[in-house]
Symmetry: C2
Subunit: 219 residues, 2 copies
């Protein structure tokens, strides 16, 4: 459960030779460590995750953690950014390739459910929602990040609905921004319910109903 302490000296052959750093080499890969930290934070949240836990999970001792990521709060914020980057990467081609709106929404929610339901010791939900529910109230900087997360999702959905409307898939009276809020609401409700271990089947039923309502049952 620890990063292997001696990394293979192999360097990608074609890649430009990285000018070997000067001192003792790192025993960890920052990307891997950050992913492990994110795993922990997603499960228990900021306050209930100790530096000892983080140290054990990342295989880094305390001073290395500080050197690499700063204090606990900074590590949390970097973990959150990483979460957002991962989620964005998982969705990127959906938002790029234009498909029929219903298909598009179905794929988005399927990926969201994969993210929310993953985790060895139970589903972990959406990290944006978790952070909103905890640190966001008392920490302005974290609150700003969370708010940005909400807005980003709203905008992405709105773009989908606008596109669909132009294609004539939605009634002319349809309001893309409003529909986007409902699409986000659906994301939020399945994220929260996932943490209470509502089974995937039920969450999928909620998603299906939401799509029907937003796009019209006949589609």
């Amino acid at each position: 459960m620890v990063q292997k302490s001696r990394r293979p000296s192999s360097v990608k052959p074609g890649a430009a030779a990285v000018p070997r750093r000067r001192g003792r080499p790192r025993a960890y890969e920052p990307e891997v460590a950050l992913a492990r930290a994110l795993d922990l934070f997603r499960k228990d949240g900021f306050a209930a995750t100790s530096l000892d836990d983080l140290s054990a999970a990342t295989g880094m001792n305390r001073p290395s953690l500080y050197g690499a990521f700063g204090d606990k709060r900074e590590l949390y914020m970097k973990s959150y950014q990483r979460y957002r980057d991962d989620a964005r990467a998982a969705m990127i081609d959906i938002f790029r390739n234009a498909q029929p709106i219903r298909e598009r929404l179905a794929r988005i929610y399927a990926i969201a459910l994969d993210i929310y339901l993953s985790g060895e010791s139970g589903p972990r939900g959406c990290f944006t929602v978790m952070t909103a529910a905890s640190e966001a109230v008392s920490d302005p900087e974290i609150r700003a990040m969370v708010l940005e997360g909400f807005v980003e999702l709203d905008k992405a959905f709105a773009a989908c609905f606008r596109h669909a409307k132009e294609k004539g898939e939605l009634p002319v009276a349809a309001d893309p921004e409003l529909l986007a809020h409902m699409a986000s609401a659906t994301i939020h409700t399945i994220a929260i319910r996932a943490r209470a271990r509502v089974p995937r089947k039920e969450l999928e039923a909620i998603v299906k109903g939401a799509i029907d309502l937003m796009c019209g049952v006949k589609g």
Copy 2:
């Protein structure tokens, strides 16, 4: 900021004489103390709220807290039950008196917003959602309470939509359970966004859009 240490000896005149307890009288009223504890938990959550904080807020010293409510976890669970009782009480006459569905929903969401946006140091959102986002994953008993909270809300909304359908306010094709899930989703999204300090106006716009979508714009 402390409960007055000597309570007025006045007993409700008409009420049956309470057979005075034997030992030293309590310096606190359990109901008041529980409300203060709930206030704290709603703001910072379980892990970030210390017994010292709780002691200060309730005006009870540590042993009294333990005597009255058990350990921190028990106090948290009792606070949560109290939250649910309060919310239920605030909604009771809405779910009893049958009104047009749109009016009914509007009133429910207005009360919900009052609850979510209250708090001296910023909006605190919905305690059910907060608990789902934190303790629910690792604590089965708390998870069960949270799940119950979701189900209770879903059922209450479903009853509203069923009633409206019988009255002919909704299309015959309308599915009350499905609409209930969307109504709950709307609750969840405004609860979460409230904690990120989204202004009330915006939350009200989301609510209005959701009602239009669920009930049909023409109403």
